[in-house]
Amino acid sequence: MNTTQKRRIPLLLQMALVIFGTYFGFILVFDVLLGQLIPKSLLTMYMVFVVSGVLMVYTFTEEGTRELTAPIKALVEDPSKRNIRNVVFVIVPLLAGYYTYSSMLPSFDPPTELRTIHPAPPNKFKAYGKSFDLTKLENPYRKFEKEDPAKFKEHVREGGDVYIKNCQYCHGDKLDGKGPYAPGLNPTPLNFQDVGTIAQLQESFLFWRIATGGPGLPDEAAPWISSMPIWENFITEDETWKVILFLYDYTGRRPRTWEHE
C-alpha cells in the first residue's frame, strides 16, 4: 500500500456527511439563525433533490460507484461482517417501522391544505350599487401622484386614517399581517409588505377584493377561506381607493401595471 497517499474519508461516509450536513444546515440557518422555521413539506422536497444530486455526483464514474457500493456489498456478502450485518438488519427495519408508525399516528391537527391565494377576478362585478369593469378600472386618485403631489399626499394620509380605523386590527399597523386579531384567524391576514401580495396585483384587483370581501370571492375553485368583511357596507368608494393608495405608499410597492409609466 502506498503510505504517501493522502488518506481520505470513504465515499459512503462522505456522502452521508454531505446529506446530513445539508439537512441540519437548513434547520440551523432557518430555524435557529434566521428565526423562521423551514416547513417540513419543503424540507422533505429539498432533501429529495439534494440526495438525488449527491447520488449523481458520487455515481457518474465507475470507480466512484464501485467505491461507494463496496461497503454495502461487503456488509451483505462478507462472512466476517456477520455481526454488524445482523445489527444493521435489525436496526434498519425498526427505524422504518418507527417512521411509518409516527407518520400514521392519528393526530388532532387539521389536515394541511393547498390554499389558493389569488382568486381569478371576474371581468365585471357589482359594488356600491353599480357595475365595475375590472379590465378598465383605474384608481381615480393615482393621477395626482404626478399632477399634484401635495394633493396625492393628502389622499394617502386620508387612506391611512381609513386603514387605522378599519384594517389594522387584522392586517397590523405595519401592514405585515400581524394585527391584534390576526392570531385568532386561520388563514392569517395577508402581509402587504410581502413581495408576492399587493406588489403583484393591480389596484383594480384590490378594489374588488376590498369592496366585496370574502363573500364576494368567485364561485370557481370554491370553497374559499377568508374572513375579510364586505367593505362596501362600511367604507365609501372614495375611501376604498384612498386606502389602496395608502397600502402601496406605506409598503413602498408599486401597483401592477401593463404599461411603462
Binding site: K40, V57, F60, E62, P110, A120, P121, G177, D194, A221
Partner: protein
C-alpha cells in the same frame, strides 16, 4: 395544395374578422358571410351517457394518448430529416442507418396515432355531440382539409419509409430527402390545424358583442393563442420525440447481445439525448411566451393559471422539469466515461451539480407554502419571510437560466473530454469563456434580483428577456469560441461507444417518463383553465362534469394515462425487435422438391 384553398382566407378576411370581433353585428355585412348560430345552452340531458362509463375521463385519456403519439410522430420526421441530410453531407452511412431506425419506430406509432384519433372522434360524437357539431360548423373546411391531409401524410410517410433503401444514391437520395421535407410540412400543417380547434376553445376569436361567432374559418383558426401554442408544441414535440427515441435506444442497449450492438445503441441514445436537450433548452422561453399571451388575452385566465387553483400543478411541473435537467446532465456525465481524457474534467462536475441543485430548489419553491397548523402559527402567515421571495417569477427566471447555462456547461465538458486542444491561443480562449460565464452569471443575477424585486411589475416581467438573451449570448459565443479552439484538435483516444453503465440508460428512461407525465399534467392545465366552459366565456359546459377536479384526481388520471402510454410504447419497441427476428422451424414445412 388544392385542398387547402377551401379554407384559406381572402386577402382581407382576417382584417374583416378582426373588425367583427369588436363591432356589433352589422346588418350590411357581406351576404356571402356565413351566419353562425349562437352557442347552444346545454343541460345535463343534452349529454348522452353510457352506463358505467365516465365520459370526461374517457375523452381525457383518449385525447391525451392521441396527443402523446401525435407529438412523437410529428417530431421524429423533423430530426430524421436533419440526420439524413447530415449523412448526405458527410457521406457517413451511420447517420443514414440511424435516421432509418428512428423512422422505423415511428411507423407503428403512426398507426396508433391514427387509431386513437379515430377513437377520439367517436368519443366526442358519442359523448359531446353538440360541442362537436358546433365546432364542426365553424371549422368544417379545416376539418375536411385535415382528413385529406392525413391521406397525403400517410402516403408520403409510407413511400419515405418503404422506399428508404430503394431511393439511395445520387438524385434518388435527393428525392428521398425531399419526401422527408414534405412529410414534415404535412405533419406540421396537420398539427397547426388541430391546434386551431383547441385554441379556439380557449381564446375564441371573431365574436360579436353578443358573444356569437361572426367570422370565417381563417378568423377562427388565427385566434389569439394559436401561434403561441403552435410554437410551444413544435419545440416541445422535438424534445419529446428525442426523449422517446432515447428510451428506445436505452431499451435496445440494455437488451444488446454483443459489443457492436451496445456501441450502436449507445451512439443512438447519445444523439437522441442531444436532440431532447437541444429542444428542451429553449422550451421554457416558448412556455413564457405562451403564458404571457394568455395573460394578455385574459387576465382572469392568467391568474387562474399561475396564481389560482392550477398553480400547484406548476409546482409539480417545476419538479419534473428539474428531474429532466438532472437526468439529462447525469447522462452526459456518465457519457464522459466513454473517453480516456474525461478525468481532466471530472472534478468540475460536483460544482455543476451544486449549481443545478440550488437552481432547482429555487425553481420549485412555492410562494404559498404547504404548512401544518403549528408551522402556520410559528411563521405568522402562509408566506415565508426569506423563502417567500423565491416563490415568484423573478427567482424562477433566474434559476431556469442557470439550469440551462450549466446544462450547456456539462455538454461543453463532455465535448472537450476527448480532445487535446492544439491552437496556440487556447489559454486566451479559455479565459474568454470563463469571463463570459462569470459576467453573464452576474448579469442574470442582477437582472433577477434588482429588477425582479426593486422595480415595478412591467420592468420585472421585461427583465426576463435580457436574462434569456444573456444566456443565449453566452451559449452562442461559447460555441463559436469552442468550435474555433477545437478545430483540428486531436482525439485523446477513439471514443469507446458502448462503455456506459446500465444506470445511465435508466436516466434516458426517466427522461421519457418525465416528459410524458409533464405533457399530461400541463395539457390538463391548458385545457382545464377553461373551467366550466367548452369554449371560453362563450359556450358553457352543461355536463355533469363541468367542474374542476381536485389535484389528486388529476394526478391519478394523468398517471394512469402515462402508464398506459408507456406500456404501448414498450409494445412498439418490442414489435421493432420482433420484426427483425427470423426463426427457422425445422421440420415444420414440407420439403420442396427441386
Amino acid at each position: 395544395m388544392f385542398m387547402l384553398s377551401a379554407f384559406m382566407p381572402a386577402a382581407n378576411a382576417s382584417e374583416a374578422a378582426a373588425t367583427a370581433s369588436t363591432a356589433v353585428p352589422d346588418a350590411a355585412a357581406p351576404a356571402t358571410k356565413a351566419i353562425f348560430p349562437p352557442a347552444p345552452k346545454l343541460t345535463e340531458a343534452d349529454y348522452p351517457s353510457i352506463k358505467g362509463v365516465n365520459a370526461r375521463v374517457v375523452v381525457w385519456l383518449v385525447a391525451q394518448l392521441h396527443l402523446w403519439f401525435g407529438a412523437f410522430v410529428v417530431a421524429v420526421p423533423m430530426f430524421v430529416f436533419i440526420i439524413e441530410a447530415i449523412g448526405m453531407a458527410t457521406r457517413e452511412q451511420r447517420y443514414d442507418k440511424m435516421a432509418y431506425e428512428f423512422i422505423k419506430v415511428t411507423i407503428t406509432a403512426y398507426s396508433l396515432t391514427a387509431l386513437l384519433g379515430g377513437l377520439l372522434s367517436f368519443c366526442l360524437i358519442l359523448f359531446y355531440p353538440d360541442l362537436f357539431q358546433y365546432l364542426a360548423l365553424i371549422f368544417k373546411e379545416s376539418m375536411f382539409a385535415y382528413a385529406l391531409l392525413f391521406f397525403a401524410e400517410s402516403a408520403v410517410l409510407y413511400i419515405y419509409y418503404y422506399g428508404w433503401h430503394w431511393l439511395q444514391g445520387g438524385n434518388k437520395k435527393w428525392v428521398h430527402l425531399t419526401l422527408g421535407l414534405l412529410l414534415n410540412a404535412f405533419g406540421l400543417l396537420l398539427m397547426f390545424l388541430a391546434n386551431a380547434w383547441t385554441t379556439f376553445m380557449m381564446s375564441p376569436a371573431a365574436l360579436d358583442a353578443a358573444g356569437v361567432f361572426n367570422g370565417d374559418t381563417w378568423a377562427a383558426i388565427h385566434n389569439f393563442l394559436w401561434n403561441p401554442i403552435n410554437l410551444h408544441r413544435t419545440v416541445a414535440n422535438v424534445a419529446y420525440g428525442g426523449s422517446i427515441v432515447g428510451a428506445y435506444a436505452a431499451f435496445k442497449f440494455l437488451s444488446a447481445k454483443n459489443k457492436e450492438e451496445r456501441a450502436h445503441y449507445d451512439w443512438m441514445g447519445y444523439n437522441a439525448n442531444f436532440i431532447a436537450i437541444g429542444a428542451l433548452l429553449p422550451l421554457p422561453f416558448a412556455g413564457y411566451y405562451l403564458t404571457a399571451e394568455m395573460y394578455a388575452y385574459s387576465q382572469q385566465m392568467g391568474i387562474t393559471l399561475m396564481g389560482g387553483v392550477f398553480a400547484w400543478i406548476f409546482i409539480i411541473q417545476a419538479v419534473l422539469i428539474g428531474a429532466l435537467f438532472l437526468s439529462a446532465n447525469y447522462y452526459l456525465w456518465c457519457g464522459m466515461g466513454r473517453s480516456e481524457g474525461a478525468h481532466r474534467y471530472n472534478h468540475w462536475i460536483k460544482y455543476i451539480a451544486v449549481v443545478l441543485v440550488v437552481s432547482f430548489l429555487v425553481w420549485f419553491t412555492p410562494h404559498t407554502l404547504v404548512l401544518t397548523n403549528s408551522e402556520l402559527k410559528d411563521l405568522g402567515g402562509p408566506y415565508h419571510k426569506y423563502l417567500g421571495v423565491l416563490g415568484i417569477m423573478p427567482a424562477k427566471n433566474t434559476a431556469v437560466n442557470f439550469l440551462i447555462l450549466f446544462t450547456y456547461l456539462s455538454f461543453m465538458f463532455y465535448r472537450r473530454s476527448n480532445k487535446f486542444v492544439t491552437v496556440s491561443w487556447a489559454k486566451v480562449g479559455n479565459a474568454a469563456q470563463v469571463a463570459l460565464f462569470v459576467a453573464g452569471s452576474i448579469n442574470i443575477t442582477i437582472l433577477g434580483v434588482y429588477h425582479g424585486y426593486f422595480t415595478n411589475t412591467v420592468i420585472k416581467i421585461a427583465a426576463s428577456i435580457p436574462q434569456v438573451l444573456t444566456t443565449l449570448v453566452i451559449i452562442i459565443v461559447s460555441v463559436i469560441i469552442d468550435a474555433l479552439m477545437y478545430k483540428g484538435a486531436k482525439d485523446v483516444a477513439p471514443l469507446r461507444w458502448g462503455r456506459m453503465p446500465p444506470r445511465s440508460q435508466y436516466a434516458l428512461f426517466l427522461l421519457a417518463v418525465s416528459f410524458t407525465w409533464l405533457m399530461g399534467l400541463m395539457g390538463y392545465v391548458r385545457s382545464g383553465i377553461r373551467q366550466h366552459w367548452h369554449v371560453y366565456n362563450m359556450f358553457r359546459d352543461g355536463s355533469p362534469d363541468a367542474f374542476t377536479p381536485g389535484l389528486d384526481y388529476v394526478a391519478n388520471i394523468v398517471s394512469i394515462g402515462t402508464i398506459i402510454f408507456m406500456a404501448m410504447v414498450i409494445f412498439v419497441f418490442w414489435l421493432s425487435t420482433v420484426s427483425g427476428k427470423h426463426v427457422v422451424s425445422k421440420g415444420y414445412w414440407k420439403e420442396q422438391q427441386a
